[in-house]
Amino acid sequence: MRTDELIELLSTNVEPVDHRQTVRSIHIAIAAGVVVALGVVFFALGPRADLTSAGAWIPALFKIAATAVLLVPASIFLIRLARPGGEYGTPTALIALPFIAIMVLAVISLVSAPGSHWKGLILSDDWLECLISIPLIAIVPFAVITWAVRQMAPTDLARAGAFVGLVAGCVSAIGYAFHCVDDSVPFFAVWFGGTIALCTFAGWKLGPKLLRW
């Protein structure tokens, strides 16, 4: 076939398209991921038993807010990376800043506690549950967001995949924060931060396979 024949084929009666539709579908996918994560936590794991007292709400809200501080810029970067060429001029390394901020808070909290308490602050009873739950809950959000991002034809698949993993990990962690009864900042930094980083790494590895178009 000659190229001008193809151009004729593509341009004759060309349909108008809505360029906002794809960004909308990523927003919807992230929101759907949040709903799924909350659903799993409330119906399968169960929310923390003391959620009726203010003393439990404050640390739970801290965990949610701290994760949201990561989720919001991660979503903005993801939407940029999702378009062809979006990887140029997107300062994705800045996403390390919220991570560093949480680590600094964790170190401050450790330094202000006696050394004999450190182990309890970091390694409490449910570190293993946290390590397993967050990546597991992230699977469905990850799949939904991957589907939406693929519609936008990303051209840096590894980086776009990493941000899909990061967003899915944050979404999952926000849900899990309603279940997790461990309220120390070092615990949050190590186990929430670590599992979200793990999701990011998984996305980075899976991106080139799953996001190809």
């Binding site: 076939m1 000659r2 190229t3 001008d4 024949e5 193809l6 151009i7 004729e8 084929l9 593509l10 341009s11 004759t12 009666n13 060309v14 349909e15 108008p16 398209v17 809505d18 360029h19 539709q21 794809t22 999702a82 378009r83 062809p84 060429g85 979006g86 990887e87 140029y88 519609q151 936008m152 034809a153 051209t155 190809r212 178009w213």
Partner: protein
């Protein structure tokens, strides 16, 4: 160069709103840039002009099927370049070339033009069209090849206008997908 960008961008904006004439001009301008780009890249590693034409057409199809991902407030050429480069890397990966064959580049590598249109690609789109379900084939035939309006095609096929639109949309998607699958690794 900047004038070129501005002009192409306004053609693209019009095309996104359904202006077929502007869209045709845009695609044929871009095809010259794409041809030069692919010929330059492929010649360096000893590939044929037919292969460059295949890739040019593939990039045009990708631009078409992914045109909803272009943000009208952003420059157009970096978007086109990203698609062109993605298709090149994808092609070289499938034909087992080394990634190191693709040099570092930027969007300005897309500014050269090549209007040599005599080369045909290896794709037989009309043949693939015949393999589509009858309804899709016929609506595409009427609206895309014979240039009838959607309303005329609808009355010709005894279909509603929205059915024709849906059928054309699905058919074009299937057609582009079958072209992408048919690419034979050398």
């Amino acid at each position: 160069m900047v004038a070129n960008e501005a002009e192409l961008r306004s053609l693209m904006r019009a095309g996104l709103q359904g202006d077929a004439a502007a869209y045709r001009v845009l695609l044929s301008r871009l095809s010259a840039n794409l041809r030069a780009y692919y010929k330059g890249r492929l010649a360096r590693i000893g590939r044929s002009a037919t292969e460059a034409e295949d890739l040019t057409q593939e990039a045009l199809m990708a631009i078409h099927t992914r045109r909803h991902t272009y943000d009208p407030s952003a420059p157009l050429l970096p978007w086109v370049h990203a698609i062109a480069r993605y298709k090149l890397i994808d092609h070289l990966r499938q034909t087992r070339a080394l990634m190191s064959d693709v040099p570092v580049e930027n969007a300005e590598d897309l500014l050269a033009q090549d209007d040599h249109t005599a080369t045909e690609s290896a794709y037989d789109v009309k043949g693939m069209l015949n393999q589509l379900p009858e309804k899709m084939r016929r609506t595409i035939q009427l609206t895309k090849l014979e240039g009838l309006s959607v309303a005329e095609a609808a009355s010709r096929c005894n279909m509603s206008e929205s059915d024709v639109k849906i059928s054309v949309h699905r058919g074009m998607k299937a057609l582009m997908a079958s072209v992408a699958r048919k690419r034979v690794p050398q």
